[in-house]
Symmetry: C2
Subunit: 106 residues, 2 copies
Amino acid sequence: MRMGNIYSRVPADLPDELFEDIVVTGEVKIERIISDAHSSPPGFWYDQEKSEWVVLLRGSAGVRFEGAEETIVLRPGDWINIPAHQKHRVEWTDPNEKSIWLAVHY
Amino acid sequence: MRMGNIYSRVPADLPDELFEDIVVTGEVKIERIISDAHSSPPGFWYDQEKSEWVVLLRGSAGVRFEGAEETIVLRPGDWINIPAHQKHRVEWTDPNEKSIWLAVHY
């Protein structure tokens, strides 16, 4: 039995987004992501083999899906279920506080 | 692509704990649980076929594992990874506000 806190151990300096595995099996990965005003590089799209359910727990973020004109703004508690190979990118994350995501890849 | 907010649509009255599926496949289930001062019935132990990663996002709760003398107190952000068949029970949940859990069964 392992325990932790999703809001703890947040590094003060985050030159890059931080991806931390919490649970990893052959079928599922649960990870915490911490963004500090990071965004996806210009022209980059995530194109993932697995589906991803992701919830933003702290901060804010803008996510865009391929073919969509509008960026979806996420606030704490907002979740998105992203089917495998649905291309998406993070346009921006909160400039004023670190954003904490919880993602389940399945 | 589906969206939602983990803190939204919380019923005012909750005679029973509320279990809501968010994602269900053959291998994984993501669910929201809302407790309103509920606890496991006396003598009841969860004994689950699957492992469960569960995070408390709002409220507070006391969880006890079989063979342990102490109840583990959970506050917002605290998570536990519970191996399959590790018996456990919820001794109490917050009497003053509704407690919101996110569970991933895998």
